[in-house]
């Protein structure tokens, strides 16, 4: 944050157009506003949820209670408020996804750019490593690892998801870099004797950024689905506020598929995943325009 402030303070001119472009891109279509609002809502839940609700109350006399003024989304197997569980559980889900996305972005983009621009031996080595990562079945690996590692913290889970999930991004970025490196502006840069680092960071990266951003958001959806799926299988530490555990409990303990009583308990985390996915997809449209000059011009 300090860096951002300093940057903004040092360069007010640069800030205004970027913010303006962002606002313009988001406001151009109502769907984008909705998408951003959903993402912000979940981000707020992730940040503030556990502070808002400490220890969730249980009520064995109100197990699987239907939605009411007191419990907007009903209650779970122990009579705890489902809405509170959803809000508290957002931190783990989004924290994991954010960390995994960050690792994917840094490793995938970095390796893809270097491999695509340098080609030759560097490309071969980096792509063999990437291919190896791509062959690792991340989900089964997580199931196995869950027997020996404690995934109660989102950071370890994010690390594994990100560590096994950047291969696709690296491959995609490399393809883009291979294509771009033959363009005139890069030949000119090389002709001017600019350093490889400068060319990759200042010339290549900005042109690939929209692709990376979109890939990143889509990866985030995949990471959310993967971690929730893992918890749904019941092979990681048990937490009543975890969305995957909620799904697991609703189906395997609450009989949500046999009885309507536990249906809201099942639908609540499911709806959140769908809503989050929807938010990301809607917002992707704005990101696309934000980074794509042609779309900006057309608009």
């Amino acid at each position: 944050m300090a860096v951002t402030t300093a940057t903004l303070g040092a360069s007010p001119r640069a800030r205004r157009p970027a913010l303006l472009a962002f606002r313009t891109a988001v406001l151009r279509k109502p769907g984008r506003v909705v998408g951003l609002a959903i993402i912000v809502l979940f981000a707020l839940m992730a940040v503030a949820g556990p502070w808002l609700y400490g220890r969730l109350e249980i009520d064995p006399d109100a197990v699987y209670a239907p939605p009411s003024a007191k419990h907007w989304l009903g209650t779970d197997f122990a009579g705890s408020d489902v809405l509170q569980e959803i809000i508290v559980g957002a931190r783990y889900v989004l924290g994991t996804a954010a960390l995994a996305a960050l690792i994917t972005a840094v490793l995938g983009t970095g390796i893809g750019l270097v491999a695509g621009y340098r080609r030759g031996f560097t490309d071969s080595v980096l792509m063999r490593i990437t291919d190896f990562i791509l062959t690792i079945p991340a989900f089964p690996l997580l199931i196995v690892l869950s027997t020996v590692w404690d995934f109660s913290s989102p950071w370890l889970m994010g690390l594994v998801l990100g560590g096994t999930g950047w291969g696709g991004m690296a491959r995609a970025v490399r393809s883009q870099a291979l294509s771009l490196r033959e363009r005139g502006f890069l030949e000119a840069a090389r002709g001017l004797g600019l350093s490889t680092r400068h060319i990759i960071v200042k010339e290549l990266l900005p042109n690939i950024a929209p692709y990376v951003a979109m890939h990143l958001l889509l990866s985030t959806i995949a990471f959310v689905t993967a971690e929730v799926g893992l918890f749904f299988l019941g092979v990681v530490p048990f937490s009543t506020t975890n969305w995957g555990v909620m799904l697991n409990q609703a189906v395997f303990s609450g009989g949500a598929l046999e009885s309507p009583d536990a249906l809201f308990y099942l639908l609540a985390p499911l709806s959140c995943i769908v809503l989050l996915t929807l938010g990301i997809v809607l917002f992707l449209d704005a990101v696309d325009e934000l980074f794509n000059p042609r779309l900006r011009e057309r608009a």
Partner: protein, 606 residues
Amino acid sequence: MSRPKTLVAAVAAAVALTASSACSGSAKKINGGGSDGNVYTSIDANNPITAGAPMNPFNASPNTFLGYDQMQLGFDKKNPADPNDFFPGLAASWTATDTGLTVQLQPNAKWSDGTPVTLADIKTSVAVAYTQGLAGPSAATANPSAGSLEVSGVKDLGGGKIEFDEQPGVKNLYFTRLALSLTIVSDKVYGSQVPADVWTTIAAAQGPDANAAKAAITKLTTEGKALAAFAPAKDVSAGPFVIDHIDPGSAVMNRNPYFYDVKKIAPKQVVVRHFTGNEQIWSYMKAGELDSAPFTAMPTNVLNQVLGAGYTRMDSVSFVGASIAFNEKVAPFDKTAVRQALAYVIDRDAVTKVGEPVGGVPNAATTGLIKAQSDTFLSADQSAALNPYKPDPAKAAALLQSAGFKKDSSGQWHLPDGSAWKITLQAVNGFSDWISASAVIANELTGFGIPTTAAVTTDFATYKKEMGAGKYAFGWWLVALGPQTDKAYNRLYGSDDGFVYTNGQITHNDSGWEHTPETYAVNGQTVATGPLTAQLSVTPVADQKPIIAQLAAATNQELPVIQIWDYTRVQFTLNKRFTNFPKTGDEALLANPPGVWMMQGYVQNK
């Protein structure tokens, strides 16, 4: 816990006992013999279908089904007052003698290939039991205090009478029970799988030469492994049904026309459905597909759905309890005051309401037995003297303070050394009742000021292994596995607690995971838990009261476990295709699978 999985553990641990008695069947109505009938569909809670597994009852995942195609000489009535009380099976009657047991086979006992059940079948079955560790010294090692079936010979007395000779020098109270519980297999099928010299090996295993006995046991074990993997080409059954075919989703069994009492068997076919979890069984029942369903954990909302689909609920006593066990080697669980404090914090009523609302009753007081059984042994005064540990945070706090614990300004308890006290409560994946209950207990303890996390182990095999390795300090455990009281207390003061029973002597070492003290001081008396537990196995039920009184009081005071709920065996039947099912109150029948009901004349076509 997925109820079926719990049941596996519970039933597996609750089977096997003995004594002396004679008995007779109690058939109600008799069906019309060989006429066609309906198809009976059910679930074997202990035995989901395992695709590709052999039709061999000794395999780890056998595709055979007790009471249908897998037969015994008799079937356990689970009578706590008489552990040798059995329904007749292939044995029509039996008499315990000073030297063993004499069994009268059913007059028409035949295999599904039409050949009669003979002495050779019984002898082979006993030999097979030795190779499988179900009889002999290996079985004694598995259940040190209870002893094992030790047969020195099986003789034909003529007229269908078979004599089981108990090994000279051994007097097991439960010889009858153990002999009647043997799985009887066909000599024509399994005889070739047992070496010709097996009885010589068995004799060596029972002999006085320790080295020769050890070598013989090793030989039997090796032979047993090969036999367990044996896959018969077809099912040869002496039971009411014989397997027609097995596919991954179900086992289909046809009525055995040669069954000794085939006229009582109404269904023309039995289909045992596969399942992977409780929710599948719920789904089958909601669709009205099962004619009877075994003990399955379910929430109240699912119960209502099942009852709404037309099922009748039948409750019977289940000699199993769910508890939270301590590893007393891990501080601070070595302190009695700490264990008692935790008992005062946990609200068992609330926990049971969430964890096992249909198939559980909150435990009244920790004694090592379920209440229905402890009530039969303890006097009113003794029961009244037990501490029920009703929820009382003030008492819990006082106990912790007396043990040197301190509470900080945020309300969190600290250990005597000043460090924050945190607990992990371990449960097992798939054991839905334990998992749900863990959430409540964790919530209660956290609210009291001991931050508690509920953790889940991937499967029960890993759980038992890791618990045995001392990895868990505080975790769920099945206790009170009766009705045999020595088995129930062996769960607390047996091998898991380091008590080893060899050559009639009991010793205590550090090999278990419970690590309770060797003796307790209770009401001014010293209670030696391990030796008393071993003593139960050689004491007739009628004389067990003084021993149980000591063990119950000691367990209640020292709390090696906190009993949370007593299970109730809740089963369901559907009066749609069949009628005349057992009812609530038919305890002995309900402790057995539907095949046994049918043998007794129950279950008729509608």
